[in-house]
Symmetry: D3
Subunit: 340 residues, 6 copies
C-alpha cells in the first residue's frame, strides 16, 4: 500500500448551526480540520496509509484533534505534543447572496510555535512515497518555515515525491514574505496545485482573464499561468480547481491539469453546496491519489474533481467519501438516485 505524509496545522472548527449567523448562535458544532489534515483523511479514506504530522497541546482539546484523525484511520504516531493552544476557526455558513464567513483565532498555536526538533523526518519518511504540504504551514511563522524546509529537503533526499498547494492566505503573510519563502521551497516540489490568484499573489505571475467574481473562467489564461509556473520551478504537473461562484449556495466546479506539454480540462459539476470548506483540499487529495496510483492524467484529474465535487455535500472539513463513491461519480452517475 502506498504511504503518504502531510504536514500542517489541525484546527478546532466551531461552526454555527443551519444558516445561523455568529451573533445569534448559542450552540456550535465541533469538528477538526485544516488543509493538510483534510488531504490526509481523504487519502486514508481511499485506502492509503496516511500519516499526519503536526503538534498539538497536551490537553483534551489537543487529544480530540488527534482522535478525529485516528477515527478515520490516519496514522497519528508522529504528532508532537506540547505548546499552548490549538488554533481555532469559527465558521458561519452563508447562503444565496450572503457569503460564508471565517474568523481565525489561530495565532500562538502549538504547531506555529513548534520547534524543528519536535520532528524526526528520517523516521517520519521511512517507506513513504509522497509528501504534501501547503503554503499555509510555512506562513505560520519562522519556525514553521524552518520545519517545512527541513521536511522538504529530507523528502527530496529520501526520494519522496513532493506536492504543494500554494493556498495563499493574506492574513498570515504579505505577498513579499510569501514569495521569499515559497520560492525556496518550490525547488523540492514535483506537483504544484494553485489557482491564478495564488500564482499572482505568491509569485507575481499573472495572465489575466479570470474575474473571480464574475464567475467567468478563461481556460487559456490559466494554462499560461501553469506553464509559467512549470518553466520557473520545473514542476512536473501544475493543477488548479476552477470555481465559478454563482452564489454561496451554488457553484460550478471543475479543474485543469497541465504537464508542460498538454492541458487537461475536467468535466464541470454544478454543485448545490452543503459545506464548501475543504473543497480545494479534497481536490488535492484526489489528485495525489490519482497520480500515486498511476491513473492516466485525464482520469486522475476527473477523479480529483469528482471527489471534490462530492466534498461540497459533506458537513465538516473532511471529505468523507470512499473510492467506490468517487468512481461511481466519475463514471457519470450524478443522478442522485437513492442507493438502496
Amino acid at each position: 500500500m502506498k504511504k503518504v505524509v502531510t504536514l500542517g496545522e489541525i484546527m478546532l472548527r466551531l461552526s454555527t448551526h443551519g444558516f445561523q449567523r455568529f451573533v445569534q448562535s448559542e450552540n456550535v458544532d465541533v469538528c477538526y480540520g485544516g488543509g493538510e489534515a483534510n488531504v490526509c483523511v481523504s487519502l486514508a479514506n481511499y485506502g492509503l496509509e496516511a500519516r499526519f504530522v503536526t503538534k498539538v497541546p497536551k490537553h483534551e482539546i489537543g487529544q480530540s484533534a488527534v482522535n478525529a484523525l485516528r477515527r478515520f484511520g490516519v496514522d497519528t504516531n508522529f504528532i508532537a505534543r506540547g505548546g499552548e493552544r490549538l488554533g481555532i476557526y469559527f465558521l458561519e455558513s452563508g447562503a444565496s447572496q450572503r457569503a460564508s464567513k471565517v474568523i481565525y483565532d489561530r495565532a500562538h498555536s502549538a504547531i506555529a510555535e513548534a520547534d524543528p526538533s519536535d520532528f524526526d523526518w528520517q523516521q517520519i519518511f521511512k517507506g513513504v512515497d509522497w509528501f504534501h504540504f501547503t503554503g499555509i504551514t510555512p506562513a505560520l511563522g519562522s519556525k514553521a518555515t524552518d520545519i517545512t524546509m527541513e521536511a522538504c529537503q529530507k523528502a527530496k533526499e529520501m526520494g519522496v515525491t513532493v506536492s504543494v498547494d500554494l493556498n495563499y492566505r493574506k492574513k498570515l503573510w504579505t505577498p513579499e514574505e510569501a514569495e521569499n519563502v515559497m520560492s525556496q521551497l518550490m525547488k523540492y516540489v514535483d506537483v504544484c496545485i494553485g489557482n491564478e490568484e495564488d500564482a499572482e499573489k505568491v509569485f507575481g505571475i499573472k495572465a489575466g482573464g479570470t474575474d473571480v467574481e464574475s464567475g467567468q473562467i478563461d481556460h487559456a489564461a490559466y494554462e499560461k499561468v501553469a506553464n509559467q509556473l512549470i518553466e520557473r520551478f520545473g514542476f512536473k504537473y501544475v493543477a488548479s480547481t476552477l470555481r465559478e461562484s454563482y452564489s454561496a449556495s451554488d457553484n460550478g466546479w471543475s479543474a485543469m491539469l497541465c504537464d508542460g506539454n498538454k492541458s487537461y480540462l475536467s468535466r464541470k459539476y454544478d454543485v448545490r453546496i452543503v459545506d464548501r470548506v475543504g473543497g480545494g483540499d479534497s481536490f488535492a487529495g484526489g489528485l495525489i491519489y490519482g497520480l500515486l496510483t498511476e491513473k492516466p492524467l485525464q482520469e486522475a484529474l476527473e477523479f480529483a474533481v469528482a471527489a471534490s465535487a462530492m466534498k461540497h455535500t459533506v458537513p465538516g472539513d473532511f471529505n468523507l467519501v470512499n473510492l467506490d463513491e468517487v468512481e461511481t461519480l466519475v463514471k457519470g452517475d450524478g443522478s442522485g438516485r437513492v442507493q438502496r
Copy 2:
C-alpha cells in the same frame, strides 16, 4: 366514509441529521415507515378510514411503530403482536451529486416471520372498499407470500378493489422469484402501479426508451409497457411516476395513468428535495384516494402527483399533507407564498 386496508411492513427508520454521512453521525432521528404504512397514513390524512395490517414485536420499539400510526389516525386494531424484531433501515440524505443511501437491516422481522394464522382476513376486510399491497411484502419470505396471497384471495372474494405497487427490491428476491410470485398475485389486482424498471425486472416487459440516469423520459415507451401489463393481467388501470433525477437535490416529478384505451399525463413539478423517501408511496396514496372518490382519471392523476410532489418537502416517510393542501396545489398554487 370509504375504508381502506393496507398490508405490509413498518420499519424503524434511523436517519442522520442535516446532510451528515453515516460515519460522522452521533445522533439520529427516529421515525417509522414502510411502503404500505406510508400509503395508509396518506389515506388517513385525506380523511378515509385506513387500517394497517402487519406484525410487530411486543416490546416498546414495536409499540412505538404502532403509536406512530395511531398518531395520524390509522386503525391499528388488526396489527398482530409477537416475533423477534422490527425491521430497521438507516438513511443518509444525499445532496447534489451525492446520492442518499439506505442500509437495510430488515431480515428476521416480525412480519417477515409472521404466520398466516396471525391475521383474520374475514374480520379485517369487513366493510372495506379497497386493499393495497406492494411487491415488498411477498418478497419478505414464503410465509409473507402466503399471507399476501390469502389477503388477495379474500379481498377478491369479498368484493374489495385491489391495488399493488410492484416495487421490485433486488435485495429481497431475484427477478425469477419475483415473477413467479407476483404473476400469481396479479390476477387479484385491479390497479397496478409500477414503473418501467419494475415491469422489466418482475415481468420481463421492456419497451426501451427511458434511461433512468439520463433523466430523459419517453412517454410513448412507458405507454407500451402499461398496455402490455393491462393485456397480460387484465388490470383496470396501470400508473407510474416519472422521476427525472437531475441530482440528489432536484428532481422532475410527474406521472402517467393508462386505462388500456387512453393515457393520461400529469403536470410536471420541479421539486427541491427535502426527503424523497416515500415519494412513490404518496403517489399511490393519492391515486387510491382519487379513484376511490371517483374523480375523473386526469384529476385523480393530478391529485396523486401533486400529493407526491409535496411529499418530497416533508421529512420522514409519511406524507403529512391534508386534502386542502393537495387540492390547492392541483389548482395551481405552487408559488410557495406564506400562508398566514
Copy 3:
C-alpha cells in the same frame, strides 16, 4: 447619530426545525419578532439609535422579548409593562411547492389591549428624527388605533418624519375597517411602503397587471398605483418590494420607489430562501436608513433591496446584517465566496 422610533407588536415566534410540519414537531425554535420590531433591529444594526415602543406582560416571556431587542442594541426604555399575554405566532417553513405556514395566536396581547396612557409620546419623540409604524398596529383594536393616531399626531407636531408599511392583514380587519382607519393616519405619513395588494385592499387602488401567483411583474402597473397613492395622500415617496414567488424555496426579489416624478427600479436578486419572514420589514429598515442618511434615491433603494435580499438567508425575524455587508452586496459582490 440619527434617532428612530418604531411602534408595534413584538411576538413570540415558535418555529419548527428544518422543514418539519407542525404535526410532527416535538421541539420548536424560540425567537421574537414583529414588523415594527424587525425594522427597529435593522436600524440598530446599521448604527442608528433605534427605540422600540410596545407593551409586554410583566412575566419572563415578556422580559425575554425585551431582552431579544436589547441584545441587538435597541433602546427598550419606553416599553410599557403589563397586560395579559404576549402575542404568539407559529411558523412552519415550507419548501418547493409547499408554502410556509403561519398560525397566529395574537388576540388579547398586551399591546392590543394597551391604553394610550401607557405611552408618553412627548418623551418618546424627544430628539427623534423618524417614526415608523405599519398597518398591523392600528388593526390590533380600537385602543391600538388610538395609540397609533396619537403617536402620528405627536410625531408630526414635533417635526418627526413618518413612514408606514401598509401591511394589510386580512385576519385582523376588513378592507372597510382598514380604509377607514388608515385614511386618517395617512395624512401624517411622509413615506409609504406598500405593494399593489395592500393598495387595493386598503384603499381600493387597483392598476391591474400583476398576478402575484404567476410571478410576472408589471412595473408600469405598480407605478400607476404609486402615483395614485401620492396624489391621494401627498406622500413624498412610495415604495414597494416586488416579489416573484417561483416556489417556497426560490424567489426573485427587487423593488421600486416613486417620488411622484420618477420611478426607480432596483436590481433583481434571485434568492435561495432560508427564512423569508421579515423580508419586507428588512426592506423598510433599509429604505429608512437610506433616506435618513440622505443617499440619492436610486442608492437608497438599492441599499434597501440588497439588505432585504440578505434577510432571506438569515433565520429568525430580525435582519442580522450590518452596514458593511449590505454595502458590499450593493457594490455587486453576490458571489458568495468565503470571507476569511
Copy 4:
C-alpha cells in the same frame, strides 16, 4: 374492557431544555397535557378504553393535541373542533432551591369558550363505566361550568361512577366562586381526590397540622379533612397525595385513602425528580384504575402511589408507564437495576 371518560382542557406545553431559565432559552420542547388528559392517557396505558372530551381549534396546533392523545391510544372521536386557540403553558424546570415555574397563557381557549351544545353526553357516556373531571374545568368560565354540570348530571343518570380531583387553581377563580360551583357538582361525585389545601380553599374545611413548606405531614389532620368531606358530600372515597417538598430536586411521595370508616396510608417513595408536572394526575389515574378493577383499597392506593412515583421520572405531562412496570414497583422492586 372498562371504559372511562374524562373531560377537560388539553394545553400546548412549551418547556425549556435542561435546567435553562425562560430568559435564556432559545428552543423549547413541545408536548401536550392537562389534568384530565393526563388521567386519560394513564388509563389508556393500563389497557382501558379511555375517551377524552374537550374542544380544540381546527388548525394544526389543535390537531397536534389530538394526535398526542391518539398516539397513546386515547379515543378522540368526541373532541369538538373550533374556537380560537389552544391554551398554552410555559414550563421552566427548577432544581435544588430553585422552584419550577409555570406561566399560564390559557385564557380564551377553545374549551374555555366551548358551548354545551358541542357535546352529546348521551353518546359520549354510552357503555361507559367511569367519568372523571377536575376542579380546573368548571373554573375555566361559566360555559365550562355548564358543560361540566351537564356531564355530571348525565353521568349520574346513566349510572356512571364519577370522580373529581379538586385541583384548586387560584389564578382561575376565587375560593368563593369555587365553593359555589364545586358544591353543586359534588353531589354527583363518588370519589373525591383533593389535598388539605384544596379542601380548605374550596370548601373552607381546615384541620390544621400540615405545613406544606416544612415538609412535615400530619396524617391524622388529613384524615379529619377527609372525613369532613365524606360527611358533607357523601363521597364513597376521599384520597390525597402527600408530597413532602425537600427541594425542587427531591420529594417524598405517599398518599392516603379514606372510606369514612378507615384510613389507608401508602408506602412512601423518595423520588429524584425528572418532571413532577402531572404527578397528581397520575395518582388519580392509578386510583381510578385500582378502583375500577376492584383491587382491595390498600392495593388500589399502593398502585396509585407507585404509578405516580414513577411519573416523576418521565418527561412530559403524561405518565408513560404500563401495568407491568407499576406492579413491579408495587411488589417492591424500586432498586432501579437495569432491565435487560
Copy 5:
C-alpha cells in the same frame, strides 16, 4: 438607582452537553462570562444600573460577548473595541466523583493586551456608586495591572466604593507576583471577598483549620484570616463563601462576613449542582447589592448566599435570578414547589 461599574475580562465559554467529556463532544453550548461580567449581570438583574468595562475584538465573536451583556441590561457603552482575540474557556461538567474541568485558552486576549488609554475613567465613573474588580484582571498582564490600578485610583478619588474578589488563579501568576500587585491595589479597596486559599496564596495569611477537600469547615479559622486582612489593609468588610464539596454533584454552601468587630455566618444550603461556575461571582453580586442598598449585615449576607445558592441551579456563567426570587429564598421557601 444605584450605579455600579465592574472591570474585567469576558470570555467565550464553550461547554459540553449533559455530562459529556471533552473527547466525546461534537457540539458545544456557547455562552459568555467571566468573574466581573458575572457580577455585573447579577446587579443588572437586581435592577441597578450596571456598567461593564473591558475590551473585545471588533469581529462578531467580540460583538456577541457585548450582546450577551446587553441582553440582560448591562451598559456596554464603555467597552473598547480592538485587539486580536476574545479569551476562551472550555468547560466539561463533572458529576459525582468526577470533577468539572476547565481548559483556559485566554492568553493574548483583547483585554489582556489593552492599553490604559482605551479607558476614560473620569467618564466611566461619572455618577457611579460602586466599583468592583477581581484578582484575575491585574493578573492578565502588566498593562492590565496598570489599567486596574488607574481604575482603583480614580474610583477612590471620585468617592466610589471599591470591592475586590481576590480570586487567585495559579495559571496566571505566582503568589509572589500576586502579592506584589494586589498589595498595592488593596489600599483602594473597601470590601474584600476572598476565601482562605486566596488569603494564603496572595497574602501569605494562613490560619489553618479548613481542609478544602475534606469538606470540613472551621469558622473560627476563617474569622482569624478575615481579621488579619482587615488589620493589614483596613477593609471595611471581609467576606467569603464556604463551600463544602461533597462531590461534583452536591455541595454545602454558606458564607461568612466580618466587619472587624463581629462575624456573621449565613444559613447553609445543600445544593444539587446544575452549573457551579460563577457561584462565587453571584455571591459577590449579591453582597454588593445588599451593601449598596444598605441592608443590615446579616441580611446582606443572607441575600448574597441565597442568590449564589440559586446560581448553582442555572446553566451558564450568569446568575439569571431576580430580586423577588432571591428574597423568597431568603425568607425560607426552598421547598421547590412549582410556582404557578
Copy 6:
C-alpha cells in the same frame, strides 16, 4: 508497553435523550459498545496497546463501529469484515424508582455468525500479554463458542494470561448451556470476574446472603463463592463488583478480590449515576490494568473500583477516563472541585 487483546461483540447502541422513555423518543444518541470492546477502550485510555477482535459487516454502520474504536486508539487491524448486520441495543435511561431498560436486537450479528477461519490467533496473539473475554461471546452461538475456545487454547499455548468476566445473560442461553460451555473454557482462565449471581447461574455455586434488591451486601458470603470458584477451576484471582442499588439514580459501588488466601475489600463510593452501562466492564479494565502493571492487590482493586465509579458519570459504554484521573480519585480526591 503491555499488549492486550479482547474478543467479543461490538454493538450499535441507540439511547434516548435525557430521561425520555422509548415510546416518546424521536431522536436517539448513537454510540458503539459491548463488554469486551469497553474493556479494550479502557486499556487503550490507560496507555496500553489494546487490540479488539470481532467481525463487523462491510457497510458504513460496521465501519462506524470500527471508527469508534480507532478514535480512542484501539488497534482494529484484526477485525474481520462481512456478515449481515451489527447487533443493536436500545437503551432507555431510568431514574429514581424507574429502572433503565435495555432492548436487545442482536441476533444474526456478524460476530454471532462468524467462522473460526475469520481469525488467525497466531497472528493476533503475537507479542501479546493478556487476553480477555466474557461469557457473552460464547453465548452468541456455537460458532462463537468455537471461536472463543480456539482463542483460549491458543492464548494458553502462547503464554498469554487469560481473564474472563462471567457475565451471564439469560436471554442468550440457559444455565445448563452456560455451565456446559463455560466449564470447558474456565480451564484456560487465570483471572475470573463474576458476581454471586453469575456464579450461581453459570456454575450452580451459591453461598446465600446477598439479596440483590435489598441492597445489603454480605462480604463473607461472596468470599465463600470466590473460594469455591478458585477451588473448582484453579483461578489465580477471583473478583467481583459489589453494587448496592439504592435506586436507578444512586448506587453504592465497591468490589472484592480474592486470591484463595486472602480477600481484599475496596473503598465504597456512593455514585450519582449518569450512565451505568459498562460499569462492570470498566472494573474489568481497571483490574486488568492493575494486575498487568503489577500493582499490589489492594491497589489494583482500588484502581479498578475508582475507575469504574468514574464510569458511572460518563455517557456511553466506554470509560473515557485516563490514568491521572483514576489515580487522583484513588488518592482520595472525590470532592469534585473544578479542575482549572
